[in-house]
């Protein structure tokens, strides 16, 4: 097929009559003319547009709203939880550097802090502090009872739920138990902040709060707490606190039967012998005890 360009133009109605004549002269167009003519006589199925539109409308179609993305909250929470876990563990691992020491029931441990201050932890107690920041800030958190021998230097603080004990360099004992907060000063000067009130303790003085009440305590002359020497001493302490201490030093459960546990106890018990310790407490208060498995029951002497 020569003159292809012109033929295409012709079928596209782009040829002038002059050009058309030229094309007819140069090429045999008979067949093509017939093709062009008869092809345009072909018929297609006629569509009744209105009816078709009604049919289309009858279809239950709805516009697609611009896609709403619903967040899958389950997945979202999972991802969030993992992120929180990773980030926070990373944070604690790299930044907080918390060091903690802990003792179990009937255990006692001695630790040295980064500045060579000494801590003796009594049974069932825990201290924690930030080792990295220790050089700037000697602060630790205490749960339970501990005896501190602090090297001279910056302020040294012991935080407890009942108050803050601040010293410069000294020896002192902090006992923080349930409904019980007691600080003994053995050397130097200790300041205790409890309920926003600060009390200064010189050696031999005690700051004691039992059941939220600050108590006056007689001076003492010991140079270190008796529990360091395997003995727990009490000076007018309610029986329930003494029992709690017994339970911490010996793995015991003590129950009382018909006894007023607010009864005050003055005296001590050893950490070395359970029988002797129990007797030391009971005899002085005119009590008896019996052993039922792991449980000890205190009762009034002669009552059973």
């Amino acid at each position: 097929m020569k003159k292809e360009k012109e033929i295409l133009k012709w079928l596209n109605n782009d040829l002038s009559s002059k050009e058309m004549e030229d094309l007819k002269q140069s090429e045999d167009l008979q067949t093509l003319e017939k093709i062009a003519h008869y092809a345009s006589q072909l018929e297609t199925p006629k569509v009744d547009a209105q009816t078709a539109l009604e049919t289309l409308k009858a279809r239950n179609h709805s516009k697609k709203k611009p896609k709403e993305r619903t967040i899958n909250f389950k997945t979202f929470y999972r991802v969030a939880a993992v992120l929180v876990l990773v980030l926070s563990s990373g944070y604690f691992f790299f930044y907080s550097n918390n060091t903690s020491f802990e003792t179990q029931i009937a255990q006692r441990k001695t630790f040295t802090l980064p500045d060579n201050s000494e801590v003796v932890l009594n049974a069932a107690s825990k201290i924690s502090f930030n080792e990295k920041k220790w050089a700037n800030k000697r602060t630790l958190t205490l749960k339970g009872e501990a005896y501190f021998k602090v090297k001279k230097g910056q302020t040294f603080s012991v935080k407890t739920t009942d108050g803050i004990v601040t010293v410069l360099g000294t020896q002192f004992n902090v006992k923080e138990r349930k409904n019980y907060f007691e600080v003994h000063c053995y050397e130097g000067l200790v300041s205790v902040t409890h309920n926003n009130k600060t009390t200064k303790l010189p050696p031999g003085k005690t700051f004691r709060v039992i059941n939220g009440k600050v108590e006056n305590v007689e001076d003492f002359y010991a140079t270190n707490p008796s529990w360091i020497q395997q003995e727990s001493s009490f000076n007018k302490i309610p029986l329930d606190q003494v029992i709690a201490e017994l339970e911490r030093q010996y793995d015991l459960k003590i129950k009382v039967d018909g006894i007023d546990t607010s009864k005050l106890f003055t005296g001590s018990f050893t950490h070395a012998d359970k029988e002797i310790a129990l007797q030391a407490v009971t005899i002085r208060l005119k009590l008896s005890y019996k052993i039922e498995g792991k449980n000890i029951i205190f009762y009034n002497y002669g009552a059973q």
Binding site: L11, A49, A52
Partner: protein, 171 residues
């Protein structure tokens, strides 16, 4: 004709668009599948698709979208059938003055050959050829509808013509 505000989501606009395009869309579908009912189904599906996605379709490209959708739906669903077209009943012969029985018979024969040959064209050649011949569309228009270049349309047209001519003259 369309300002930027024109959107197919508007029912009136959609109706106008539908009524204007449905016949040529149906023709196009028919050139592909050779079955009037199937062609209309394709067209309806394509329009439904446009309605569903009206917010995403540029009004000026809606025609192209329509034809492309028909092509895609056709490829997805319809088996190829032989496309045999019918002539309009009172279609005039090329030479309307010649009423001799020989001539009429000759022309009738030619017409039969033509439909058979059109049926043997490839789908792309046939649709271009028939869009031009039956729908009277220019190459430029066809190119826009199919989303291809005018050059491609011309190539297909030219190929279709050559095949038709060669085949008809051979028989």
């Amino acid at each position: 004709m369309s300002d930027d505000e024109t959107t197919l989501c508007d029912e009136n606009h959609f109706r106008d668009f539908y009524l204007k395009q449905v016949q040529s869309a149906s023709n196009f579908a028919y050139y592909k599948c050779g079955d009037g009912e199937a062609a209309l189904d394709l067209v309806q599906d394509a329009f439904a698709k446009i309605w569903e996605n009206c917010s995403k379709i540029d009004f000026n490209k809606a025609k192209t979208y329509l034809f492309t959708s028909i092509t895609n739906l056709f490829l997805n669903t319809i088996k190829h059938q032989k496309v045999v077209l019918q002539y309009a009943k009172d279609a005039p012969n090329l030479d309307t003055n010649n009423q001799s029985p020989e001539y009429l018979l000759e022309e009738e024969e030619f017409k039969q050959k033509l439909t058979r040959t059109i049926a043997s064209l490839s789908e792309t050649q046939r649709e271009v050829f028939l869009l031009n011949r039956i729908d009277g569309k220019k190459y430029r228009e066809i190119a826009d509808l199919l989303g291809i270049s005018q050059k491609t349309v011309e190539k297909r047209m030219s190929a279709a013509l050559q095949i038709l001519k060669a085949q008809i003259e051979n028989i």
